[in-house]
Amino acid sequence: MKRPTRYLTTLSKVYLGVILLFLYVPIVVMAVMSFNASPLYALPLELTLDWYRALASNHKLIDAGINSLKLAVMTTVIASLLGTAAALAFFRYEFPGKRLLQILLYPPIAIPWLIIGTSMLIFFFWIGIGRGLHAMLLGHVALALPYVVIVVSARLAGFDRTLEEAARSLGASPLQVLRYVTLPYLLPGVVAAGLFAFAVSFDQFVVSYFLAVPGVSTLPVEIYTAIRKGFTPEVNAIATLVISVSMVLLLAVARLYKFGGTR
């Protein structure tokens, strides 16, 4: 057996380190600058919490933050419910057109968000739904739904159906089977899918951007507007908060749903 030489092992570790630096340095720089007193990002660093204090009185950003959270929570609930139901249907039944319906889950993921977003703008405007929070909710759920179906289906794939049949033969009604056998097994998958849906909505910029109206927008849209207008460390502060929320969420998903697999 040949083992990788020591030299190669060290080299590969260094390489991984460089990739991680590339991925994290900009984020760390941004976070550090949000604590820097100089609005021109001058160094050396002079620590301050002023920019976070300024956030507390920035109503525009606070309102946008509340909108973002509301949208993300509603998206999570609706997408989890509809998506889990669809995943159950695909798992349980064979029917004509099943394959087509499964393929139809991919356009919302595969078509660039720019096109999805602008087509929503056209259609919603045209039939009178208009723009605003309700339109964004429609859009966010559509983007999150396919992911929920995929994640829950993956969990279902490992489900032993004889368990359901055993429960049936012991006299449980279909609803009881669902309540006491299927759903408890599914729960980790549904929770992971729900957290996924939350992240999709909370981080969504493109679709929200096209469906926002002045005064009613979400954090990413407000951050974008602020960046384009010329930014201050206040933007760093809110951006740091936003990225912290999504990273914590993803760590939670990772605990429930092993991405890397175990081997």
Partner: protein, 290 residues
């Protein structure tokens, strides 16, 4: 439809529309009807809102083929997509290999998580964070000047390389994730066997790793290439005046110029080109999925 006889066929019952109806009704209203409406709009002479009369026309599509401007932009966007995809592969594949085959146990789990953590975090914020690093007198410039005082100003911000860096940063975790999954599935014994029979590292890479990891590479490439073609926020923030691509022109039609029919037509032409590229890559994708 599945033709597997062993799948127990339950009668299609009333539960089916209840379970599937809401999800697909939602998708119909938010994705499929809007895309159809966009097709319709792309053939109109004007945005039919506010009482304006619109007639059927092909001129929006004609515009693209008449004006070199749009063709140049489409080409620029495709070049950007290809370059970002290639860079992601060049940097991501070795990283995926090291993670899958050279790091073991707990370390692997932790490192893997660290690599894909940025993948779902806010794309806009991550692009914004690069402006801190790349701007004149920013972190990168200072760092370079500490070691190489003669270089002076790098002037990276608002250039094509800045857009490349930002987009590679955005999509690298995607490529690492998909490559990692397929490399991990390769049996170590296969590599050992080849090595013990005298294959060099490069031969192992070319004859074993590359073909067996092809599904992951193709998936990662598609997942990178397609969204990059349609990107507009990244070129705007990092490219400034140099950041005009087909995506930014489409965005302009909807948010600044209000020429929705032209925007719709350009969107579908873009989708069409993406489809052609995917079809050209289809033999490779098919080989990858068998």
């Amino acid at each position: 439809m599945s033709d597997k006889a062993d799948i127990q066929r339950r009668p299609v019952n009333r539960a089916l529309p209840v379970l599937l109806g809401p999800a697909y009704l939602w998708l119909a209203v938010t994705v499929f009807l809007p895309l159809s409406a966009m097709v319709y709009f792309s053939f109109l002479s004007e945005t039919p809102i506010g009482g304006r009369e619109a007639v059927w026309t092909l001129s929006n599509y004609g515009e693209f083929f008449d004006k070199a401007f749009y063709r140049t932009l489409m080409w620029r966007s495709f070049r950007l997509g290809a370059e970002v995809t290639l860079l992601c592969f060049l940097f991501g594949f070795p990283c995926a290999y090291v993670l899958a085959k050279m790091v073991k146990g707990r370390w692997r789990e932790a490192l893997f998580l660290l690599v894909i953590l940025p993948f779902w975090s806010n794309a806009l914020v991550r692009i914004f964070s690069w402006t801190m690093v790349l701007r004149g007198n920013g972190v990168l410039e200072r760092l370079v000047n500490v070691f190489l005082p003669d270089v002076g100003s790098l002037n990276l911000m608002f250039t094509y390389p800045a857009i490349l860096i930002g987009l590679v940063h955005s999509y690298l975790p995607y490529m690492i994730l998909t490559c990692y999954i397929s490399i991990q599935a390769i049996d170590d014994d296969l590599i050992e066997a080849a090595r013990s029979m005298g294959a060099g590292r490069f031969t192992v890479f070319r004859r074993i790793l590359l073909p067996l990891a092809l599904p992951g590479i193709m998936a990662g490439s598609i997942l990178t290439f397609v969204p990059v073609i349609g990107s507009f926020m990244e070129p705007r923030l990092l490219g400034g005046r140099n950041g005009t691509f087909i995506g930014t022109v489409i965005e302009d039609q909807f948010t600044a110029v209000f020429n929705w029919p032209l925007g719709a037509a350009l969107s579908f032409i873009m989708l069409g080109f993406v489809l052609i590229v995917l079809l050209l890559a289809a033999p490779m994708i098919r080989r990858a999925s068998t």
